[in-house]
């Protein structure tokens, strides 16, 4: 599965420009599903029908988002430097000295204006991108206002731990693909939805959930950890198993569904953690609010350094997430 994660994290796909990710995933899932379509927003919806008919069969929606955070060019100045805004939650500190890649392959370096003192806050307005152009006209042959860029970084395999940009949420996409590969028997109709534009407001999940209209929804996304030096207090750490979300900034997981996931983890002998996240939310928040309301939960892959070019996960946690999802889908989902 490491190869799948490498491929998925290295592909280019900031919010609104998920085409290449969608292409990769389509190739991977097409032979495994009964129905495959792309909706008006660009969400990829892959449906696996039940392998056994049962009264306890439900319509399940799983969601992992294809988009990653990035930057968008807002202005090309007279000297060919680019000013930009962030797509999704980009912390300016993570950009200093970094590189971005645009859709057409052009690459640039991020620089910063002088700061009056070392204590001065690093603000996005003070940053710019240098694509090596000598003036505005030359710059505009390479990039224009509205062009989008993402972090430019390779995947790294550290053995037990994997590092890449866009683990959020390509690792979730990988979990869904692998779950599809390993799911032998289920009484449920499962829609594997690879959503768009999560980072800019859960937009793809909003419309795809309306269309799929499931009985139960589970998002697979990353969550932060509290296990690095002087970290914000959080009980989740990498290497202790997938996390089952209780609450984040935007939603409370349906308590019955959460309890079901905990039971499945215990019964299957899968180490797990309970997660309360202070900042951030996931596609589950949007799915929960759809139509008449959908009981929703999240299986999270604990990740260090979220929203930086070097997000780190524990490989065993990822495999654990797959096992948990497969086990859950293989059983009746009653709560």
């Amino acid at each position: 599965m490491k190869d799948l994660i490498k491929q998925l994290t290295e592909v280019w796909g900031p919010s609104g420009q998920e085409g290449a990710v969608r292409g990769l995933i389509t190739a991977a899932v097409k032979p495994l599903v009964d129905d495959l379509r792309t909706d008006a927003m660009g969400n990829l919806i892959a449906v696996k029908r039940p392998t056994v008919e049962s009264a306890s069969g439900r319509r399940i929606m799983l969601a992992a988002h294809m988009d990653e955070i990035g930057v968008i060019v807002t202005h090309v100045d007279a000297n060919g430097f680019l000013r930009f805004s962030s797509i999704g939650g980009v912390n300016p500190l993570t950009l200093l000295g970094g590189r971005v890649a645009f859709g057409n392959g052009v690459r640039g370096v991020i620089g910063i204006e002088k700061r009056e003192s070392p204590a001065e806050e690093v603000k996005l307005e003070k940053l710019f991108i240098d694509v090596g152009a000598t003036d505005k006209e030359r710059a505009e042959r390479l990039v224009t206002v509205g062009d989008v860029g993402s972090f430019d970084r390779q995947f790294a395999d550290l053995g037990d731990r994997l590092v890449a940009k866009a683990m959020d949420d390509r690792v979730g996409c990988a979990v869904l693909v692998q779950t599809l590969r390993e799911l032998r028997s289920t009484s449920h109709e499962v829609s594997f939805v690879f959503t768009v534009q999560e980072e800019v407001g859960l937009r793809g999940a909003t419309t795809s959930a309306y269309g799929v209209n499931p009985d139960i929804a589970i998002a697979v996304d990353v969550t932060a950890t509290g296990d690095t030096p002087e970290a914000r207090t959080m009980a989740v750490g990498i290497g202790k198993g997938p996390a089952i979300k209780v609450k984040d900034r935007g939603m409370l997981a349906h308590s019955g569904l959460k309890n079901l996931l905990v039971r499945m983890a215990k019964d299957s002998g899968i180490p797990y953690q309970l997660e309360v996240l202070e900042f951030g939310s996931t596609d589950a928040m949007a799915m929960q609010m759809t139509r008449e309301g959908i009981p929703a939960g999240v299986i999270s892959v604990p990740t260090r350094y979220v929203h930086t070019p070097s997000e780190m996960v524990d490989y065993a946690d990822v495999l654990g997430a797959v096992r948990l999802l497969v086990a859950t889908l293989s059983a009746p989902m009653e709560f």
């Binding site: 509290g226 914000r232 207090t233 959080m234 009980a235 209780v246 609450k247 935007g250 939603m251 409370l252 997981a253 349906h254 308590s255 959460k258 953690q273 309970l274 997660e275 309360v276 202070e278 928040m285 929960q288 609010m289 139509r291 008449e292 309301g293 959908i294 009981p295």
Partner: protein
């Protein structure tokens, strides 16, 4: 109402309070159900059950703000807030930790004797507070998990002039007002189907219960019942309501003007005191979500005046709850097909706008 307020029902975990609400509605409703999200929905059918003139939905939120365990440290519990809690009211508060069994606890903080003068000048931030359940760490680890809900312990307190202080008056007082409305209508015939919904997760999840129940029920009118700020010494804010002067009837972009006028006319006819409640934008209540469900719902908002909102000593006048119920009952009894038809939006080529 006391039972409602003293029960635990934090956003996402409303079932204890939900059961009490369902039992309270039951004698006065034709049907009471709890939906998949936890909303408690009580229905009183129209007199002409097979052809009601329309549907009205009342919404009062079931959930209260609370706390949640985020980690265990040597037997002490670190926690976060669920909903908008002012951390300043927490030190010294008695709470109930809903672990494997309910565990009484105290929100502790370091005693003043050991703190510097400077430290005592500052508000203790949330990540320096902890809950102490008075048990050894190994027992705590066995009984409490990350994600366990913690509710505030407070028995309702009777003050002078039939004023009452309790936790969760926001918004159990409104649930009580809805039950009282059903009670008053028990012997009445209405032209409309009446849905009383104790909604979930208003405080913490962007009005989840209101949105989803209204999507399902598709009412012709929705009235949210919530609490509103009443004046206290030192709050020179305007606009603000006064305790004991009746419910606030909101007006502004969130409110359908004809529903507003009809509520005001009803209150004046029935000599029910009420207060103005100008809302220039978002009302911060279920009404904000109800108005834009599907094709839109004509919406109104009644606010029960309340002091010290989001503390464990929220204070109101019982009379204001009764007045709110009287107003709703009179309004509902007066609804007919003509009024509802007029709200559904006009075909502008036939009528003047």
């Amino acid at each position: 109402m006391k039972r409602l307020c003293e029960a635990s029902g934090i956003s996402g975990y409303e079932s204890e309070a939900g059961r009490i609400a369902a039992d309270a509605f039951a004698p006065y409703a034709d049907e009471v159900r709890t939906d998949s999200m936890g909303n408690v929905v009580a229905l009183k059918r129209a007199a002409r059950g097979d052809s009601p003139a329309g549907r009205i939905l009342l919404a009062g939120h079931l959930d209260e703000i609370g706390l949640m365990v985020t980690s265990l440290e040597d037997g002490f519990l670190r926690f976060t807030t669920v909903g908008g809690f002012d951390v300043r009211v927490l030190p010294g508060q008695e709470v109930m930790v809903h672990g494997q069994r309910p565990l009484p606890g105290i929100v502790g903080s370091r005693p003043p004797h050991v703190l510097s003068a400077e430290a005592r000048e500052k508000v203790t931030p949330l990540d320096e507070l902890f809950i102490d359940v008075g048990l050894p760490p190994s027992e705590v680890a066995a009984l409490v998990s990350v994600g366990d809900i913690v509710s505030v312990s407070r028995e309702a307190i009777n003050l002078m002039n039939t004023r009452v202080a309790a936790k969760a008056m926001d918004d159990r007082s409104a649930v009580a007002a809805m039950v009282e409305t059903f009670k008053r209508l028990a012997d009445c015939r209405t032209a409309v189907d009446l849905y009383g919904v104790a909604t979930v997760q208003e405080e913490a999840s962007d009005f989840l219960g209101a949105r989803t129940s209204a999507f399902r029920l598709q009412p012709d009118i929705a009235i949210a019942v919530d609490v509103g700020h009443a004046e206290i010494p030192d709050a020179a804010d305007v606009p603000i309501m006064t305790l004991g002067k009746g419910p606030g009837i909101a007006m502004g972009p969130n409110i359908h003007p004809q529903v507003y006028e009809r509520l005001v006319a009803t209150a004046d006819d029935m000599e029910i005191p009420w207060q103005t409640d100008p809302c220039p934008g978002a009302t911060g209540t279920d009404a904000w979500a109800l108005q834009i469900v599907r094709e839109g719902i004509p919406t109104a908002l009644l606010s029960i005046p309340l002091r010290y909102m989001h503390t464990s000593v929220e204070t109101l006048a019982i009379r204001d709850i009764e007045r709110t119920a009287r107003l709703l009952a009179a309004f509902i009894v007066g609804l007919d097909g003509d009024f509802l038809g007029g709200l559904r939006g006009a075909n502008a080529t036939r009528t003047t706008v």
